[in-house]
Amino acid sequence: MRCRETVIHVTGRVFALVSPLIVALLTLPAAAAEPPEIVCIQCHGSMPGRIGEPVKLWKGSIHAENGVACNACHGGDPKDAANAMSPARGFLGAPKETAIPAFCGRCHVGVMKDYLASAHGKALGKGGPTCVTCHGNHQVVKATLDLINEKSCSRCHSYERARLIRAAMQETEGMIVAIDTRIAAYKGEGTDTEGLEKGLFAVRNRFHTLFHNVDVEMVKKESAGIQGYLKKIRDQLTALDNSHKKRKLAGAGGITAMLLLALFAHLLRKTYD
């Protein structure tokens, strides 16, 4: 009995020593906290009408998706509610119509250049469209070919030329979207897609310069060149596909071999039993 008591006593002490570790190991990730909201959203988000509306629109934008918040465009101090809209803290407010391209162009430098060189840019201040006319001001959507559509273009002019440009770019856009999806799928599986992403980023930027071009022949010629680069990226993805197929074949072979060996061991066990 004394021996058993000693065992229980000793094991109890051992457990007392390891129990904090057990507790530590059992402490698990609970729901991760959301990052704190900036003061702009805290105040404007709860306001009604046109003062609160931009927050709702921004939440569905590509800017929100990429963590580009109010202060990135409008300036100010997003951490200090009292001085958030103080010019001394860099608050810019909303730009005048003619200042919009420069306002957006602080980040989208190349796009601003393309816009200013286009027929749209040349009409700035003379009734021509600014960035927000097509892209929206707070619910800024990802720049795709969908932005060129009859409803949008017909607000200012006939859709005919825009239709030709869109048709010329449609195939390239489809290739970009398909390649982007495939790269994202590989990235989500741990494949190093940095090189592919950089390649696609460069090609996509080159393609986007055509978005502000209204010369149909030039758009067609450039699109063909861009497709050449996209095919190279697609070939790299096809090589990855083939490599993954080979892995699966090797895996199937390995599994079959293991099952045959298991059967062999089973037969040997029965033979000796």
């Binding site: 058993r4 065992v7 229980i8 094991t11 109890g12 051992v14 457990f15 390891v18 129990s19 904090p20 570790l21 057990i22 507790v23 530590a24 190991l25 059992l26 402490t27 698990l28 990730p29 609970a30 729901a31 991760a32 906290a33 959301e34 990052p35 963590g67 990235k187 989500g188 599986e189 741990g190 494949t191 190093d192 892995r247 699966k248 090797a250 895996g251 199937a252 390995g254 599994i255 293991m258 099952l259 060996l261 298991a262 061991a265 089973h266 040997l268 066990r269 000796y272 039993d273």
Partner: protein
């Protein structure tokens, strides 16, 4: 063959190898009604060896530095020949080790093999179980991805709920106020040196206790299923007329290991991302909290339990009590009967506990 025989003779005259083989292998008899569940221990030994081997191979290229860890893992997965295979074997192996460990513990539980005189076998096995969870948790941080960084942040944060010493423990685990490079250093040391050494020592102790008590007879197909040991003296449970460990049961072990390998390769080659989320392939960013971080499948029940209680401390305390109860089960459950069907209350509690654990895990996954 003659050369081989001469070599064996040479060894035998020096260390008595044939005597050891006769005693520990061909003469080591096991109960005739032994079943496949007894192979789980051998599978676990095999997995542990594989984890050590693949871990050493990963160490060749892995860099335990917060600035380089993620890139080094990406390099292993994409540039090192068969690096992807070695890393997947290590990650899938760690998860399957926990799964097989569960099977091993459940078989011991339902066959009531934990009962006296095998309290120490159970206790060392239980501590091994916590150590395996510990090595999985520390290994989780090493890729330094968004998933590993934030999972570790919240996991170490929860320790702060322990009264009085909680905050000190959090800082001790992290090596600072927040998860950062010192945490990676600590977890790396724990993962590759301390915990494997403890596991190896515990495996040794576990096998030693098994060797000293003898293999337990399964309670199934027996007339007398009550525990015969009275606690009045040391007794080795031998099995006269039983089946020899070598070659008969050794082949059963080998068969089980090959079946395990077939399943393991199935996951590695056909479902390699079963255990990963997209956050596992994004480098750690202390300034960007992912929307939802879920723990590994074997921690999901604990995760859901923590969420069910209004206070984190209460959730931890309940789990601590449950774990302590399980660890001390052989000291609490002293009844001699070993057949589970003759112990309806035990069966209801054990099955209920198992279903509760699975239910909480599924809830945690979808919550």
């Amino acid at each position: 063959m003659a050369l081989l025989k001469r070599l064996i003779d040479w060894i035998d005259v020096r260390i008595g190898a044939r005597e050891v083989v006769a005693k520990e292998l061909t003469g080591y008899l096991l109960p005739r009604n032994i079943n496949t569940w007894y192979s789980m221990g051998s599978i676990l030994l095999f997995i542990f060896a594989m984890q050590v081997a693949t871990g050493i191979l990963l160490l060749i290229y892995y860099v335990p530095d917060a600035d380089k860890a993620f890139k080094s893992v990406t390099f292993i997965m994409n540039e090192v020949p068969f690096g992807w295979l070695i890393r997947l074997c290590h990650t899938v192996g760690s998860s399957l080790m926990v799964l097989v460990l569960f099977f091993h513990m459940l078989s011991v539980l339902f066959m009531n093999s934990y009962k006296s005189p095998r309290e120490l076998n159970w206790l060392t096995g239980f501590i091994l179980f916590t150590m395996v969870q510990g090595i999985s948790l520390t290994g989780y941080l090493l890729p330094w991805s968004q998933l590993s960084f934030w999972a570790t942040t919240v996991a170490t944060n929860s320790v702060g709920a322990i009264p009085a010493v909680g905050q000190y423990l959090v800082e001790f685990l992290r090596g600072g106020k927040l998860v950062g490079p010192p945490t990676l250093g600590r977890f790396f040391a724990l993962h590759v040196a301390l915990i494997p050494a403890v596991i190896a020592a515990l495996v040794g102790a576990h096998l030693f206790f098994l060797q000293r008590t003898g293999v337990s007879t399964p309670p199934f197909g027996q007339k007398e299923t009550a525990n015969q040991w009275k606690g009045d003296g040391y007794h080795y449970e031998n099995h006269p007329g039983g089946i020899p460990f070598f070659p008969v049961y050794a082949f059963e072990d080998v068969r089980s290991i090959f079946i395990y390998l077939a399943c393991f390769l199935g996951v590695v080659f056909f479902f390699p991302n079963l255990l990963f989320t997209r956050d596992a392939f994004i480098p750690a960013n202390p300034l960007l909290t992912p929307a939802h971080i879920k723990p590994e499948w074997y921690f999901l029940a604990n995760y859901q339990t923590l969420k069910l209680f209004p206070s984190e401390f209460l959730g931890l305390a309940v789990q601590g009590v449950a774990m302590t109860f399980l660890a001390l089960l052989p000291f609490i459950d002293r009844g001699p009967e070993r057949h589970p069907l003759k112990r309806p209350l035990f069966m209801v509690c054990a099955l209920g506990g198992l279903l509760l654990w699975i239910g909480l895990g599924v809830w945690g996954h979808y919550s």
